[in-house]
């Protein structure tokens, strides 16, 4: 299970403040605690700084790289910001994210190839945000085609089925997990990824819904996730989910996590 640590996101007020005053120590600590908690990529996002996003993101890239050996995840909806951030990375990054919209894709695919980056592709086109299982799988197929045509190995593509809130879309979770299963089966070699916070929008005890959804998605084949690895009960659910999904032989990782005191 590939874990992208989501804590360095400017939508969090403390992170935005740290970016604003260029508080490197705070940001580096955020990177370190996620690395220690088991993240594989450290996501960096400066989306709250409209107009200044590129400068802020490049500062984040340089700052985080000084404190961790982990590769980054360059997070922006703006392809120009991604393009300006990528040259600074010192290890193959994750690119978070593109859609099927031409203006989101423009210029990104060549960068993926040159930097051997991993790419998150959302099931979203110019006229469609995939809501049903069929739409999600169809748009996933288009992502697979575009990426393959650009000479990028399928193994580097992480498809996000687009997770809607349960509060407004009662079948949001089942649609996503069904799509994950079909995408993993129909496009062999591709990965699936999602964030966990959308699903619980508007509900009480959001974290409970988040981790329940995570386990449900893992049993259907989800093999990458964007989350906060320092969230103890979420991390415990992740370990339990691996065992439940039959992806932790003899529950060795689960038991190791127990011995490390990380299931409590």
């Amino acid at each position: 299970m590939l874990i992208v640590g989501e804590r360095i996101n400017s939508s969090r007020r403390r992170v935005a403040q740290a970016i604003e005053i260029r508080d490197a120590a705070f940001i580096q600590n955020e990177a370190t605690i996620q690395a220690e908690a088991g993240a594989h990529h450290i996501d960096v996002n400066a989306g709250a700084f409209a107009g200044d996003e590129s400068d802020c993101l490049r500062w984040l890239v340089e700052t985080v790289q000084k404190s961790t050996e982990l590769p980054l995840s360059i997070d922006s909806p703006d392809p120009e910001v991604i393009k300006e951030g990528i040259p600074l990375v010192d290890k193959p990054p994750m690119i978070n994210s593109v859609t099927l919209e031409p203006n989101r894709l423009r210029g990104i695919l060549p960068l993926v190839a040159t930097h051997q980056a991993r790419l998150i592709g959302l099931c979203q086109s110019e006229d469609k945000m995939a809501e049903t299982v069929d739409d999600k799988v169809r748009l996933a197929g288009q992502l697979v085609e575009i990426v393959t045509r650009a000479g990028i190995p399928l193994n580097d593509l992480y498809i996000d089925p687009l997770v809607y809130p349960l509060a407004t879309h009662p079948r949001a979770a089942t649609a996503s997990v069904e799509a994950i299963e079909r995408i993993m089966r129909e496009f062999k070699g591709v990965h699936t990824i999602c964030g966990l916070t959308n699903i619980s929008y508007g509900l009480p005890e959001r974290k409970l819904i988040n981790r329940t959804f995570l386990v449900a998605a893992m049993t259907r084949g989800l093999d990458a996730v964007i989350l906060d690895p320092t969230d103890a009960s979420l991390f415990a659910a992740l370990k339990a989910g691996m065992a439940v999904a039959g992806r932790d032989d003899y529950c060795m990782d689960y038991i190791a996590a127990f011995r490390a005191g990380r299931l409590a």
Binding site: A48, M129, G202, P204
Partner: protein
């Protein structure tokens, strides 16, 4: 009679979807004016629901189910209003999420609340270009335009939309209200919007104010 209206109001507030149809039908059969059923029953209930949501007393799905219950009640009385030829619309509102942004949950909640308050709403969806918006404003001639943005990156587009809608010389300029997570009252003022709503209930109150006769100037 007022007991019956109170029951209808209570049914919407407490999300009694199974009961609302029968209650409204009974009220109609008892000779209660459709207008009273809407105003003192259905709309009065959504005012309470909107307040409960603003005060964090209820969650998003609870508000949605109340709005659905309200709509089911409205469906019973609407044909009667059409028959009597009474026009009870408080005004027409065009709603859209601006170009570059595909988030529509907040916008859809505002639409439900506006409809609950008696407005006719034309939903232009998400990721709407200023050009299409202008076309629709010319075609629909709404009393008010509501724009939503959830991404900070699309806020400049909101500014542009307000500029274009306000900058056109022909006839009376349409009023524009704005909202969405990153939008603030000061941003709304700065871009020249006629009003800002922090949540669905505020948006409804604002829409009422901006469409009431005699409402002239900015209400930010």
């Amino acid at each position: 009679m007022s007991d019956r209206l109170e029951q209808i109001k209570e049914a919407v507030i407490t999300r009694k979807r199974a009961e609302i149809h029968g209650l409204v039908e009974t009220a109609v059969n008892e000779g209660i004016e459709p207008g009273s059923i809407i105003d003192s029953g259905l709309i009065a209930a959504m005012d309470v629901v909107g307040r409960q949501f603003s005060d964090n007393e209820i969650f998003v799905p609870e508000m949605l189910v109340s709005a659905l219950t309200m709509k089911m009640g409205l469906d019973v009385v609407k044909p009667l209003l059409l028959k009597s030829g009474e026009n009870r619309s408080r005004g027409t509102v065009i709603m859209a999420t601006v170009k570059g942004d595909i988030h529509d949950i907040g916008k859809n909640i505002v639409i439900m609340m506006l409809e609950g308050a008696g407005f006719q709403v034309v939903d232009l969806g998400v990721d709407l270009t200023v050009e299409k918006l202008v076309d629709q404003v010319d075609a629909v001639r709404p009393d008010l335009v509501g724009l939503s943005a959830l991404l900070t990156t699309t806020m400049p587009e909101m500014r542009r939309a307000v500029q274009v809608l306000h900058g056109r010389g022909s006839g009376k300029t349409v009023k524009v209200m704005v909202g969405g997570a990153p939008v603030t009252p000061s941003f709304a003022r700065e871009i020249g919007a006629d009003g800002y709503g922090a949540d669905a209930a505020e948006a409804v109150a604002l829409a009422r104010r901006l469409t009431s006769p005699g409402e002239g100037q900015a209400a930010c």
